[in-house]
Symmetry: C2
Subunit: 192 residues, 2 copies
């Protein structure tokens, strides 16, 4: 067992514990002591891997965001037509949110509460470029409405957070047809 691997494992254990605690009771319930206990580690050990608590949370955010972005553009092929491309990315994101609902919940908490330093949050947005490019292409082809990417995101991607959190909390049912409906809404809103 390589030393490096062990380090990574311990980091991941800390990430996992922090994520679970923050998801359950917010940042106020995620004390360093609890994180340490949940990761089977002494509190002092955390400071070997992270500068301080804020750094721990920031790094967790970047970590989760990276895995989100990776999923979003998994097997993405720019050569497909605009709608097909968008559909591909959209369902990738939906799949991520279903499969990693804890991570998804954490991300939307970060996007709406002042948990993460602003610079770090900006850093996490970088990976979205392919989607912005796609929208631009769609607009040039006259397929997608000529409006700010903020609006496009707000109406075609952002709603998934709400809908899928309802699903996860068992307030709202889920079926394959349900997901298709959701995509239809997303596409109807941004298509020209």
């Amino acid at each position: 067992m390589a030393k490096l691997q062990k380090s990574i494992d311990k980091q991941n254990a800390l990430f996992k514990a922090t994520l679970a605690l923050i998801n359950n009771g917010g940042i106020q319930e995620a004390s360093m002591a609890k994180v340490a206990k949940m990761a089977n580690v002494s509190p002092a050990t955390i400071y070997i891997y992270f500068e301080n608590k804020q750094d721990l949370v920031n790094q967790l955010y970047l970590n989760v965001k990276a895995s989100f972005s990776k999923s979003a553009f998994d097997a993405y092929n720019e050569s497909l037509p605009v709608k097909k491309s968008f559909e591909h990315i959209w369902f990738n994101i939906a799949k991520f949110k279903m499969a990693y609902s804890q991570e998804a919940e954490f991300l939307s908490q970060c996007d709406n509460a002042p948990l993460i330093d602003l610079e770090i949050r900006k850093e996490g947005l970088v990976h979205l470029q392919p989607l912005l490019d796609l929208w631009k292409r769609g607009q040039e082809e006259g397929i997608i409405k000529e409006i700010s990417p903020f609006l496009l995101y707000a109406y075609s991607i952002y709603p998934m957070a709400f809908y899928l959190s309802s699903v996860v909390n068992d307030i709202c049912p889920l079926g394959d047809d349900m997901l298709k409906s959701a995509f239809q809404l997303a596409w109807d809103s941004i298509k020209v």
Copy 2:
């Protein structure tokens, strides 16, 4: 000056301080000591008006949610056609979020972070009924898609939170046309 009025004033000062602090740095920055100082009150005084910190935050949530709902259905007339009705409510909400951006920001923080007790959160949803009724009418008339109200909300109302927070943070410009575009997206997504 009636005693009752003075009580209400003090409660409102506490609400205002709590809101500001939570908005700025999350619940962890809103200590009872800071809330008290900001409201020009002794920490012990808070416990005359509220059971404990959680109760303070819960009551604040209900208070803000009530004023939100009131705005949403301001001058709302059920006798108008479905689209006109929806437009009315939609712009009411938009106006609220612009005029009371602090309150709006707080609400979306509450909806995505475990700040508020679940029962209290449910209590805050009650006032949305007229909108649900409207959607039902629209569906009966074949104007609005036959899908779960969760999806309808996720795509026609929820996006405003994202878009208008971008506006407030000066990341995204705002114009009257911009708002009209946003409404167009909302309507396009749910209309049949």
